[in-house]
């Protein structure tokens, strides 16, 4: 505001920078179009990265830009943290990483709003709409920052993955926090310049972020992560309007749309409404119903050995592998790939059936299997996989539970009733690799395990799969 404009060359003119911003957001859109298929996706991501570089350069061309040392410091620190993190993270830890990157984005948004507030004397002499969008960005960014950090903590198992909630009071507390944050925002928009109110608003939003994510259990994580992604996107778009920057608006809004689509897809794949997940009903209610339903199973469970499983698989024509979070936890994806190779050598047709919410984030299983070099065309989505189970000899369920539970189709009283599942019970026989008979996250008994067609192979996913592979080699 005070710095005298330098020689305003063409490169530094407002119009030229605006053109660069337009090029930048066009590249984002073009890059995301590339994600429509695995062959174009790498290039798409790089195109988007080029767009980002152009947007940053355009910003730095601003003739009034200053404080170069601090800018360099921030960028250097960010690079020093971001590059090793991205390079070293294990594919099994990808959900945490995404949560963390999402969180820092939200953090940047609310810090920027805070700085704006301070530098404009509490939004004095600022158009009301700019104030409103800045405040929106501050609240949503703060919720996203704290929510993402909690999600990270849960996925990293720093915080227990089970739902932590205040019970019936939870929704009232959340509502009160929303009202307080919005009221503080309205007060500032109405002309209060008190920084205490602004900090109070950030605090309410921070508590809200904690209060929303803490009660959500591991299995609902795909929904939460997608939702937080949408939040950060929308808050970035709001910052864009406040700063009158088209690249920020477009990029933020596209991320908002992407996050919303994913959130909705995940919620549909679990047959649950987004409000119900946010209200955190699954853990509590589900566990009680599941426990009472446990006694109804008079059926017996058959267990098998790696050697028997190997024989059964070796003499199949068609095997479908159904991976779940258990495979990720045990880091069994490479072992699974080895098993597949061994089976394919014997002429067995092997494919993978992947439920949209298997794992802890959208597409989690696909990433792990891709890491283990499983060919893209062997990965089948649920709608494609389900009609095939009837002509499948053996379904090998590795660490997946609720997404295979026939109760979702047959038992109207079940908490997961109505959720689309992988219909492994349609196949001629089923082998389930599982640590123990403990019910899954939702605390719901899985009828599949009592099905006469099903055999259980108890053990850690990785060692069990490796044992089967070893036995296969001897047949």
């Amino acid at each position: 505001m005070t710095a005298p404009p330098l020689a305003s060359s063409f490169l530094q003119s407002q119009s030229f920078r605006d053109v660069l911003y337009i090029i930048a957001f066009s590249l984002f859109i073009q890059g995301l179009r590339g994600l429509a298929g695995p062959t174009t996706a790498v290039r798409g991501n790089r195109i988007a990265a080029v767009g980002m570089a152009i947007a940053v350069i355009a910003t730095l061309l601003n003739p009034q830009e200053g404080n170069w040392g601090l800018i360099a410091l921030g960028i250097a620190l960010g690079t020093a943290v971001g590059v090793p993190a991205a390079r070293q993270v294990k594919m099994t830890a990808m959900p945490q990483m995404v949560a963390l990157f999402n969180g820092v984005g939200g953090g940047a948004v609310f810090l920027i709003s805070w700085a704006e507030f301070r530098l404009t004397g509490g939004f004095a002499h600022t158009a009301t709409y700019i104030t409103v969008f800045s405040l929106f960005a501050a609240i949503v960014g703060s919720v996203s920052f704290w929510g993402s950090n909690i999600a990270f903590g849960k996925l990293q198992e720093i915080i227990p993955g089970r739902p932590i909630s205040l019970g019936a009071a939870q929704q009232i507390v959340n509502l009160v926090l929303v009202i307080l944050a919005v009221a503080a925002g309205a007060d500032i928009a109405a002309g209060d310049h008190s920084e205490a109110i602004f900090i109070g608003m950030l605090l309410c939003a921070a508590l809200l972020g904690n209060a929303v994510v803490l009660p959500i259990g591991g299995a609902d994580m795909p929904v939460v992560i997608s939702m937080l992604n949408a939040f950060t996107g929308l808050s970035a778009a709001a910052t864009g309007i406040a700063l009158n920057n088209p690249a920020l608006i477009v990029a933020g809004m596209i991320v908002g749309a992407s996050g919303s689509i994913l959130t909705n897809l995940m919620a549909v794949a679990m047959n649950r409404s987004i409000p119900a997940i946010i209200a955190g009903g699954f853990g509590g209610g589900g566990a009680i119903e599941g426990a009472s339903g446990a006694g109804e199973h008079a059926g017996t469970v058959r267990s098998t050995t790696a050697a028997d499983a190997a024989i059964q698989l070796a003499y199949s024509n068609r095997v479908v592998i159904v991976p779940g979070y258990g495979m990720a936890v045990a880091q069994a994806q490479h072992a699974v790939r080895e098993l597949t190779k061994e089976l394919e050598k014997r002429g067995v047709d092997v494919s993978y059936a992947i439920h949209p919410v298997a794992g802890r984030m959208p597409g989690h299983m696909n990433v792990l299997l891709a890491e283990a070099d499983v060919p893209y065309d062997q990965l089948k989505e649920m709608d494609e996989a389900n009609p095939e189970f009837q002509r499948t000899d053996v379904s090998l369920v590795i660490g997946a539970n609720d997404v295979t539970n026939p109760a979702a189709k047959n038992t109207p009283s079940s908490p997961i009733y109505g959720m689309p599942i992988l219909e492994v019970a349609d196949s001629h026989s089923v082998i389930v690799i599982k640590r123990s008979m403990n019910p899954g996250f939702a605390g719901i008994e899985n009828e599949l395990y009592y099905d006469p067609k099903t055999e259980m192979l108890f053990g850690d996913a990785k060692s069990a799969v490796s044992e089967i592979t070893a036995e296969l080699a001897q047949i």
Partner: protein, 113 residues
């Protein structure tokens, strides 16, 4: 400087971007949803621009500078980390002609025993 038409223009951009986002993202297959998330994650790191603009044009006061440097750091982590990790993931989805060498520089535990 601030006129109503700026708001109208920006809101139009916002709404149109939302529609484009829906169309483009709807075409991404389930299989690529994790890279999609981390890629869009990287894109929202563009809030970095906000930090750069504000610190450059009006970054007075020590506390303001501290907040903004943190914001720039966060934004950079978001962008650099997001694009790199997405690139790493997407490389794995490309069909490879039976690569013999391990290209992962990450200390992944190989499942072969």
């Amino acid at each position: 400087m601030i006129i109503a038409s700026t708001l109208t223009t920006n809101l139009s951009i916002l709404v149109l971007a939302g529609f484009i986002g829906f169309v483009v993202i709807s075409k991404v297959p389930n299989t690529l949803h994790t890279p999609l998330m981390s890629g869009t994650n990287a894109i929202h790191g563009i809030v970095l621009l906000g930090g750069l603009l504000i610190i450059g044009l009006a970054g007075n006061g020590t506390f303001n500078k501290v907040i903004l440097v943190i914001a720039i750091t966060f934004g950079t982590i978001n962008i650099v980390g997001g694009f790199l990790v997405t690139d790493r993931m997407l490389e794995m989805f490309k069909s490879k002609p039976d690569r013999g060498k391990k290209e992962l520089d990450a200390p992944d535990e190989e499942g072969k025993q």
